[in-house]
């Protein structure tokens, strides 16, 4: 499966954020979307996720557009936006379980704990999320992403509020995912300093 974008245009607040955008991401590739604040990074990512409809252009997943095969596409993609998608009153374990069930996946308690342990959150596994810091919540959300193991990851500013060590750890996970023929799209205004990849495409918006 290839993610293919053709002649995409996004119109917001009386002007075009971008026009005639063409690119494709194939298995094992990472796409980095860069640009200043307000240049349309998040909007582009939302379009790719199918959350919003572009002014013009099409997004293909394989041979068909993502809007035609929405259920199938949603099944092969995980999206992490600005907001974590974590309920404040639920524990990390419960949150991850919710996300897994919503994605039609089996829930292994052990596996979830393992992954939480890998980011030093095992002690917090059974406390409500409002006790966690911003960065810790972000980590939980990324854990959910890792457990889900969907081929395509769409990540909006995944590194905000994370410490250096976690960023390093996360980027190792990215490389692992790419080796298993996964695809990653990242919107970020910082460069990926730890990753040294041949198969990286960069788009600069604005």
């Amino acid at each position: 499966m290839i993610l293919n974008v053709k002649r995409l245009a996004c119109y917001k607040g009386n002007k075009y954020l971008f026009r005639d955008l063409n690119f494709s991401v194939s298995p094992g590739q990472l796409l980095l979307i860069q640009g200043q604040n307000g240049s349309g990074k998040s909007s582009l990512l939302k379009i790719l996720a199918g959350l919003s409809v572009p002014e013009k252009g099409k997004v293909y997943w394989g041979s068909d557009t993502i809007w035609k095969q929405r259920d199938k596409y949603c099944n092969q993609m995980s999206f992490l936006g600005h907001k974590e998608g974590m309920k404040r009153n639920l524990t990390p374990i419960e949150n991850i379980r919710d996300l897994l069930i919503m994605a039609e996946l089996p829930t292994h308690e052990e596996k979830m704990k393992q992954i939480l342990a890998a980011v030093q959150l095992q002690a917090h596994a059974h406390y409500p999320c409002y006790q966690l810091s911003q960065g810790q919540r972000r980590k939980v959300a990324l854990c959910a992403l890792l457990v889900k193991q969907k081929p395509l990851w769409l990540l909006d500013e995944p590194f905000t509020a994370l410490d250096k060590e976690s960023i390093y750890h996360l980027q190792q996970r990215f490389i692992e995912h790419l080796r298993q023929n996964g695809m990653i799209v990242i919107a970020s205004h910082t460069a990926l300093d730890f990753i040294d990849l041949n198969d990286m495409i960069t788009i600069v918006l604005g």
Partner: protein, 223 residues
């Protein structure tokens, strides 16, 4: 399909019942509202019996109006709605589960209180039973209408009183039917017609509104 419904439902219930303030404050509001009327009219027992069903109905509607604003507020801030919209399951199904949970959390406590409130307001047993029955049949419609209002105003920062203007027209038929059911009982006839109609409206709301709300929510995500 059913599994995801249950998951969505229970996790919403956990969220509400874990924070006492969230489910208790509407109940308290309801009690205060009714008690104020009771105190104000307390010396005239006959008059109280005449209008107390109306007071309880209005208190119920106002309480649900105040809770309506918060249905999706937290979910929007936490990004849950985006995840719901991206689930392979149809959004209306998930919304139905959420609405059901919201109904349990907001309407059920009030209905359980009804016997006590009814005694406080000097209602005879028969009327209390009828009040609970009509509320039970009407409240799903009230909740669903609230869900629709909440999705329509989801992008507004403070929807408060404006939501009232939107929801008032939609509350009116339910209020009228509930009210007329009780007035019928005063004249010693069993108001089966109103009860059936209330049930029908609730069914209509349960089947149609999740679709409308899902469409509205998807558009709101677009922004």
């Amino acid at each position: 399909m059913l599994k995801v419904f249950c998951r969505c439902f229970f996790s919403d219930l956990y969220v509400v019942f874990r924070s006492t303030r969230e489910w208790l404050s509407p109940v308290l509001f309801f009690m205060i509202f009714v008690a104020l009327f009771g105190i104000g009219l307390g010396f005239d027992g006959q008059q109280l019996i005449q209008i107390s069903p109306m007071i309880i109905w209005v208190a119920f509607l106002l309480t649900s109006l105040f809770t309506t604003e918060s249905i999706f507020r937290a979910d929007l801030e936490e990004g849950i709605l985006e995840q719901l919209a991206l689930s392979p399951y149809p959004l209306w199904w998930l919304l139905l589960a959420k609405s059901f949970a919201f109904w349990i959390a907001s309407s059920l406590p009030l209905m359980l209180l009804m016997p006590f409130v009814g005694i406080m307001m000097q209602l005879p047993v028969k009327e209390i039973i009828l009040l609970v029955v009509t509320l039970f049949l009407g409240s799903p419609a009230i909740t669903m209408v609230g869900v629709l209002g909440a999705t329509l105003t989801i992008t507004l920062p403070r929807s408060g009183i404006f939501l009232g203007i939107l929801l008032l027209p939609l509350y009116v038929p339910i209020l009228i039917l509930g009210q007329s059911a009780i007035i019928n009982l005063f004249s010693q006839t069993l108001p089966l017609f109103q009860i059936a109609l209330l049930g029908a409206i609730s069914l209509l709301c349960i089947t149609l509104i999740p679709h409308a709300a899902a469409a509205a929510l998807k558009t709101a995500m677009n922004e």
